[in-house]
Amino acid sequence: MSAVTTPSAMPYSAGSRGFSEGLGLKGWGMLLLAPYVALFALFVVYPVLYGFWLGSNPAIYTQLFEDPAFWTAYTNTMVFLLVAVNLKFVLAMMLSGFFVVQRPWIQVMLVIFILPWAMPSIPTILSFRFMLNSEWGVINSEYFRWTFQDGPGWLNRPDLAFTWSIIVHIWKSLPFWTLILITGRLAISQDLYEAASVDGASRWQQFRHITWPSLATLYISSTMLSMIWTLGDFNSVYLLTGGGPGDKTHVLATLGVRYLRIDQLELGIAAIITALPLIVPMVWYMVKRLSRGPGE
């Protein structure tokens, strides 16, 4: 995006009448920040410190690493992050190219396309779950009607079940990221494309030399942000497969909740803490990136 913004350097003169009255600039600033600072301290800092304290016993990590489900979950998480997120972004990139076509019906379609994102996940993911049931789901029932054979156990084989978790995840979050990339694409000047067309550039060349350079930064930050969030997405796995069969489709977020459910609170915290080496660098990078003022 090439949004032109005004740097927010404030030309307040010390003598300006309104601002020197009452609390003064500094006082107002403190006062207005106070609610958030209080909220942050009470409901973020304290719980986080407490979480670390709960997960600070080294013995718990030995226990965690002994659990075969942990390593499965760790691998799954990596696959989820790398495959699901990248696949999602390639799709989002292509779809955004489709949705920027200026046709009224395509704009109507865009409205429909947002639905998976706008709907709460519980009912929609449960709909997937029912659809994929190997005995009474619609897919295998139709399959039986045509072939008189039982179809594949979509959620009964770990590989298929995990693939479906990825598909559900993409289904749910694809619209949001497509929307972001559409916004990015719309910010590219049309003149560039017109000039390129005149020069006889192919569509691939246009993408390669105009679209991609303009979108690259947005694309990469979005991908990274999405990876961080995907790490915390337990709905797609939890509501679809519950981590099964055989605890083989867990990711770290669901494993944490699984431990909580089997009365192993500390293991749950520890499982989530082991994800920190993955996310802290990304969070660090993103915070630095995102907090940079637009003018800097």
Partner: protein
């Protein structure tokens, strides 16, 4: 960073102040009680009546909340960790998951003072399961038996007959019994073009049904897992060899295609669901919830008259409850009993009234309607409860009572609470799945099982 330090320091102060501010001005004494939401309206109504009478008698306001089965235990665990538990807790999975551990860790109030005076009213076997050890080795009654469950076998009489067999054909011998459902019944139905499996065989790791069924299966093969002192004896050669057979045969029901392929992922309700929808002819299930559902439906005002009539026929004629077959060695297989326990939490705010409430709740006239409100799903733990006409009222209940009278055996976690973790992780189901799905040798799966159990029960 200085700001951060100041923040952190301020938090503690603010938290204390907030805690004080948020503590309500106590106008009336309250008692917080969490009970698992009943499966049937009758249970909740019976409980609410008890609560009301207790409130009238004592003037204490009872804050009753009824979370669903899974939420109940999860929330209790979190509350105990946070040292903010209710005063009284009763979740139907405490015994499987938490009671023994909580007692060991000193999270529970000693109930001996309220249990001793009424000791004789309880069945010995049921009461024995609540005599639990603390960390220092001292034993006491840390939990109150409320109700219990056994393992049964249910089948559809009409489906059985459609397959060309009759009830009289059902064998009593172990192998013959399972082969009957697997081969004769399932094939009979498949030949008639029906997409039905002979057995609903719980295999899911997240289901307590699976370990209940599997451990019963292991009993049939005479596997002893722990001794009376809670020491692991599964690794002794005879036990291990029997366990290998148990794992192998349990997995075979799946690999032979006698159970729906989704049973590898089943949660607790799923075998019931498959059964009700006639996708399986038979299933083994802890409690007679399968039959009870039809009884409940036959009285459900929201169903049409036709549906109610069908439900009544199902309960009275079509759904059958029988015990498991004899062991492979030809002797009778006693059922495992799981005694559901209520507790008073050591960190509760009103423990005194909590004890009073539990004592009140377990008076026969209060407990019986609660247990019987579950229309047979839960079996009484008192001697008087067993003799209630309720358990003579129909064939399902008579079958349950007969199983009770034939004698019951407890779970391993009664001897060693650390087995709650073994069950929670469902090491058993994992071994079965290793064989059924990963196709490893049963002996290897059992080696893995024993290695994992050792890790889990290490002090």
């Amino acid at each position: 960073m200085r700001v951060l330090r100041r923040l952190a320091a301020g938090v503690a102060a603010a938290a204390t102040m907030l805690g004080v501010a948020a503590a309500p001005a106590q106008s009336q004494e309250t008692l917080t009680v969490w009970f698992t939401k009943g499966f049937y309206a009758g249970e909740d109504q019976a409980l609410e009546r008890v609560v009301q009478r207790f409130q009238q008698q004592t003037g204490v306001r009872v804050e009753l909340s009824l979370p669903s089965t899974e939420d109940c235990v999860t929330r209790s665990v979190a509350a105990v960790e946070a040292r903010t538990p209710p005063d009284v807790g009763f979740c139907t999975t405490y015994d499987f998951r938490t009671t023994g551990r909580w007692a060991f860790e000193g999270r529970l109030e000693d109930l001996t003072p309220i249990i001793n005076p009424i000791k004789d009213r309880f069945q010995d076997a049921a009461l024995a399961t609540t005599f639990l050890a603390r960390r220092d080795g001292q034993k006491a009654y840390y939990a109150m038996p409320i109700q219990q469950q056994f393992m049964h076998f249910n089948y559809w009489k009409d489906l059985l007959e459609q397959s060309g067999a009759t009830e009289a054909d059902i064998p009593k011998g172990w192998d013959a019994f399972w082969n009957f459902w697997c081969d004769r019944v399932q094939n009979g139905l498949r030949q008639r073009g029906q997409r039905i499996n002979g057995i609903g065989h719980p295999m899911g790791i997240a289901a307590s049904d699976t370990f209940y069924s599997f451990l019963t299966w292991a009993n049939a093969y005479n596997v002893q897992i722990v001794d009376a002192n809670g020491n692991l004896v599964l690794d002794q050669p005879a036990n291990k060899a029997n366990m290998i057979k148990a794992v192998e045969t349990y997995a075979q029901i799946f690999t032979r295609g006698c159970t729906p392929s989704s049973s590898i992922n089943w949660l607790d309700p799923d075998n019931n669901v498959a059964f009700h929808n006639k996708q399986i002819v038979a299933t083994h299930n802890a409690t007679i919830s399968i039959a009870a559902k039809w009884l409940d439906d036959s009285n459900n005002a929201n169903l049409t008259a036709e549906q109610r009539a069908q439900a009544k026929t199902n309960y009275e004629q079509l759904v059958r409850t029988i015990p498991w077959p004899n062991k492979p060695d030809g002797t009778a297989l006693p059922t495992r009993a799981a005694v559901k326990t209520a507790v008073v939490f050591a960190d509760g705010k009103n423990k005194k009234r909590g004890l009073e409430f539990l004592a009140f709740m377990t008076q026969e006239e209060n407990l019986a309607p609660f247990v019987e409100g579950s229309v047979g799903r839960w079996f009484p733990v008192t001697k008087a409860g067993v003799n209630s006409p309720f358990w003579q009222a129909d064939d399902h209940r008579k079958a349950v009572k007969a199983q009770y009278e034939a004698g019951t055996v407890p779970f391993e976690f009664v001897y060693n609470f650390r087995f709650t973790a073994v069950n929670a992780e469902n090491v058993w189901a994992r071994a079965v799945q290793r064989v059924a799905q990963d196709r490893i040798a049963p002996a290897q799966a059992v080696d893995e099982m024993i290695a994992r159990i050792r890790q889990l029960i290490a002090p």
